[in-house]
């Protein structure tokens, strides 16, 4: 069984295995297919039209499935690899070991935002940005430049306390847990992290930065923690909602998986610290 660990606790060997597996998927072209898929959904998901991957209830199960598929590809390259998660409430500065040269590399240089160290630096020759929205083929970041602070634990706890999964109109204007976690409303969690990293992470082709997977693995963990805190709550809407993926509707692009299939992560992996139902919360 796959165990997803906090990136901060990985050994040097685990970091090397992860980055090597990512580079292997880049080499074979598999990596860029994921970037293309994500960008396709981000450009087509709209508040008033069909929406699947973002700004909708299925934001969470869609990304859970997307990460599962990416993780399965990593494991074809190296069966020992699992997706690590980045708890950005704890590792919240550019001095975190996440951004060291032996893992993801650091922020971009001032002149053009280009990442200059680590295995994904353009100069290392193994990680060209091919699926892109502009002419630049090098990985870019500007950690903390566009927004000063990553979300805090207190901000996360306030969102985890919201008892209702999602609400009409089931989009970026919704109240409820999903949209507050996604960040279109309120303190802004998931969206703000994309902006804080900057570079490709702030764009529709955000999976070009390998931190995308670790960010979403933590967003996914927060969904599991919310479920543990609210055992009486479930995915909404249940049925009959136009333009939106109901509990038992299939999700594009796979068309063989529903939000209901994705509710229990323990069918697929566990976390190094499994969310515990907090009796004190209720």
């Amino acid at each position: 069984m796959t165990v997803r660990k906090n990136q901060a606790s990985l050994t040097s060997e685990e970091k090397r295995a992860f980055t090597n597996a990512v580079l292997e998927l880049k080499r074979t072209g598999v990596y860029d297919r994921f970037v293309t898929t994500h960008n396709g959904f981000i450009m087509s998901d709209t508040d008033s039209g069909d929406r699947v991957g973002h700004r909708s209830p299925s934001f969470l199960p869609w990304h859970r499935r997307f990460l599962l598929e990416f993780e399965a590809e990593l494991q074809k390259a190296d069966a020992s690899v699992a997706l690590p998660y980045w708890d950005w409430t704890a590792d919240r500065t550019s001095r975190s070991s996440l951004w060291a040269a032996d893992f993801l590399g650091g922020t971009g240089r001032a002149r053009d935002g280009q990442v200059m160290d680590g295995p994904f630096a353009y100069s290392a020759g193994k990680f060209p940005v091919n699926v892109r929205v502009d002419g630049r083929a090098y990985l870019r970041r500007s950690l903390g430049a566009s927004v000063a602070e990553l979300p805090t634990k207190a901000e996360v706890d306030a969102v985890l306390a919201m008892p209702v999964y999602d609400m009409a109109p089931w989009n970026s204007a919704s109240n409820g847990f999903r949209n507050h976690l996604e960040g279109w409303r309120g303190a802004n969690l998931h969206n703000r992290v994309h902006v804080w990293v900057g570079g490709q992470m702030a764009t529709g082709v955000s999976p070009n930065d390998p931190v995308f997977w670790m960010h979403h693995a933590f967003v996914d963990k927060l969904w599991a923690e919310w479920q543990a805190r609210h055992p009486q709550s479930t995915y909404l809407p249940a049925a009959g909602t136009s333009n939106v993926v109901d509990l038992n509707d299939t999700m594009r692009p796979w068309n063989d998986v529903t939000p209901a299939d994705m509710l229990d992560h323990r069918k697929f992996y566990t976390f190094d610290t499994e969310p515990a139902a907090a009796a004190s919360q209720r």
């Binding site: 297919r33 994921f34 293309t36 898929t37 960008n39 396709g40 959904f41 981000i42 450009m43 087509s44 709209t46 508040d47 008033s48 039209g49 069909d50 700004r55 997307f66 598929e69 990416f70 053009d112 935002g113 699926v131 892109r132 929205v133 502009d134 002419g135 630049r136 566009s146 927004v147 109109p169 989009n171 970026s172 204007a173 960040g183 279109w184 998931h190 969206n191 703000r192 994309h194 902006v195 702030a202 764009t203 529709g204 955000s206 333009n243 692009p253 796979w254």
Partner: protein
């Protein structure tokens, strides 16, 4: 990108600029410029940090946005930077995002276009492809 468009031939761009009183905005505009509210749904043609921003309201853009979202979103303006179209989207609360600033909202298309110019740092926009392949 050098062909004269129907809008240019009709002179509507200059007319709209004059009507909005921003004809002088072809100099480098400040990043903090807040005149954007006045052009919320209007035509814009300005040079910002060395890049030409042109915004055409939905009513004048001939509805060629029809295929981008698959949801019948023909009401979007066309935003171009140095002639290349920038993919934009309107949120339910009336704010805007673009494909180069996709997780950050802007009050209007001009603010969004200027943010894109800053983000691009001189780079040229790539043609955007609709729905890509599956992973």
């Amino acid at each position: 990108m050098n062909k004269i468009t129907r809008r240019q031939a009709m002179g509507t761009t200059a007319g709209a600029l004059a009507a909005l009183g921003i004809a002088g905005a072809t100099a480098h505009a400040a990043a903090t410029d807040s005149r954007a509210a006045a052009t919320r749904s209007g035509t814009v043609d300005e040079v910002y940090q060395g890049r030409r921003i042109r915004i055409t309201p939905a009513s004048a853009s001939g509805g060629h946005h029809g295929g981008h979202h698959g949801g019948g979103h023909s009401g979007l303006p066309t935003v171009r930077i140095d002639g290349r179209e920038l993919h934009v989207m309107r949120n339910a609360d009336g704010t805007w995002i673009s494909v180069v600033n996709h997780y950050e909202t802007f009050a209007d298309p001009l603010s969004l276009a200027r943010a894109a110019v800053r983000e691009l740092q001189g780079a040229v926009l790539a043609p955007f492809s609709p729905m890509g392949g599956t992973a």
